[in-house]
Amino acid sequence: MALAIRRTSDILCAARWLIRRDCRVLSTLPEKAEISQEVVVRRPAGRRPIANEAVLESRHIYPEFLPDPNPDWRNSLREKLERADMLKRRSQIDIPEFYVGSILAVTISDPHAQTKTTRFVGICIERKGCGLRAEFTLRNVVDHQGVEVRYDLYDPTIQKIQVLRLEKRLDEKLLYLRDALPEYSTFPFDMDPEILPEGTPVPINPVQVKLKPRPWLEKWERQELKGVSNIEEHLKGKDRIRRELRKTPWEKYDLMKQYRKTIPIEDQSEIWAEVHNQLQQLQLSRKKMARKRTFTAPKPQLG
């Protein structure tokens, strides 16, 4: 079953790339659509041209370089030292670009294992923490048993982080996979890495999962999830009423709440000005390595 799903999703992915390569207009992915809209709108307004728009985009790739927005905890020197340490670690191992929803394989040195290394494959369901505390959680179903492992991104015992499939999902966090049918989080350990052609934007997987019947770990119906298809089936009348009561439509307009959660542009551009060059270089060297690998062992799937 799981295999079948994997196959279909593979085929889907391949089809998507083909489509995108030919005519990108057809792409109806919501996030991308939003971005393009923003760009179109900003041009005529044109009041404050932001020179380093491209640099600011790296906030999606390296979100952990932005500090915690709480002003009580911020200190410019600490942040600077932390970023320097992060770059030092990044120069040692290749920490690739990945998102929530990407499938990763992580190899760590493990004193408990017999071979002293352990490899785990799974879908990234959560990324959190900033700076050296950044961590991500991988989830997989092994032998019909759901397993989740949390890793520190900058842990020096991590030997390798490999992105098997680079994609995004519809939601920021995929914690609902814990309550979804197991086939949605089943991935084989011997999965081959799929390499995106260069220059393509990160695809968004529009798959909508099916939840198991209740009880659930959280009240998913109140979270406005896009990646769940059958949430209404499991709800009773009282759940719907309570969902209505607990709705907070004004939070969308709470400008200061948004402000307190984000790092303003001025601060961000300082940060990226400091680290962007080094990150670019690391990325280039990584690409070089990747190209070498593809020459030596070309993937039959892609051919």
């Binding site: 923003e38 709108v41 900003r42 005529p44 307004a45 044109g46 009041r47 404050r48 600011l56 906030r59 999606h60 979100p63 952990e64 932005l66 500090p67 915690d68 927005p69 709480n70 002003p71 009580d72 905890w73 990324r127 959190k128 923490g129 900033c130 700076g131 505390r133 950044a134 907070t248 004004w250 307009y253 709470d254 400008l255 200061m256 709440k257 948004q258 402000y259 307190r260 959660k261 984000t262 790092i263 303003p264 542009i265 001025e266 601060d267 961000q268």
Partner: protein
């Protein structure tokens, strides 16, 4: 340590933002708080100068600053911004004012868009602190004392003379240093490094 949100980009406010929002007590809970602030922000944009309690004034000031900075950043063709303006401004003609009057006014402003001043309390009482909240560049007469520019006040006269004196001695010293250096150069033909040092030293004034 939580990760900062990356989906939105905001401009930095030029005022101090406390870590925690203030609670404005309302029977309707957080929604009531926002409603109160909406009224205040609408009033501020409409009248450009209002007097109110400190707590509410300080909160409303942050929201007004954010609203103006969003309007400046995205302009009036951006739908989400328009939506936000529509929500915050209860009187709809003010939306026009925001985009057509305030945005051009504050576009090249390097300071905060609003100003908050302490207002006098009529009697020493338990009433909350009052403030005056105003948009910069409003048409009303200024509230602050403009006396600071009077060059003829005695302290300014004295300091002015002291400044002249201080600068004179500084220049004299610099000239002397340069003269010394030239002499030294002429005499010894020193290498470049010591001259650099001496030029650094020449800037240090005598105190």
């Amino acid at each position: 340590m939580n990760q900062a949100e990356v989906s939105k980009l905001v401009s930095k406010l030029r005022i101090k933002v406390p870590a925690e929002p203030r609670k404005l007590r309302s029977p309707k809970g957080p929604e009531g708080r926002i409603d109160k602030l909406r009224k205040t922000v609408t009033g501020l944009i409409k009248y450009e100068r209002i007097e109110l309690n400190h707590n509410r004034g300080d909160e409303a000031r942050q929201y007004a600053e954010r609203l103006i900075s969003e309007a400046i950043r995205y302009g009036d063709c951006h739908k989400p911004t328009m939506d936000v303006a529509n929500y915050w401004l209860l009187e709809k003609e003010l939306i026009h004012k925001l985009f057509k009057v305030l945005v051009p006014r504050f576009e090249n402003c390097n300071t905060a868009y609003t100003r908050m001043l302490n207002a006098p309390r009529p009697l020493p009482s338990r009433v909350d602190d009052k403030v005056v909240l105003e948009l910069r560049g409003n048409p009303y007469p200024s509230l602050v004392n403009r006396q600071s520019n009077n060059r003829l006040l005695i302290q300014n006269v004295l300091l002015d003379a002291a400044k002249y004196d201080y600068r004179q001695s500084k220049y004299a010293e610099m000239a002397e240093k340069i003269g010394q250096r030239e002499e030294a150069q002429a005499l010894e033909k020193k290498s470049k490094e010591p001259t650099k040092e001496s030029s650094n030293e020449s800037k240090t004034p005598e105190i």
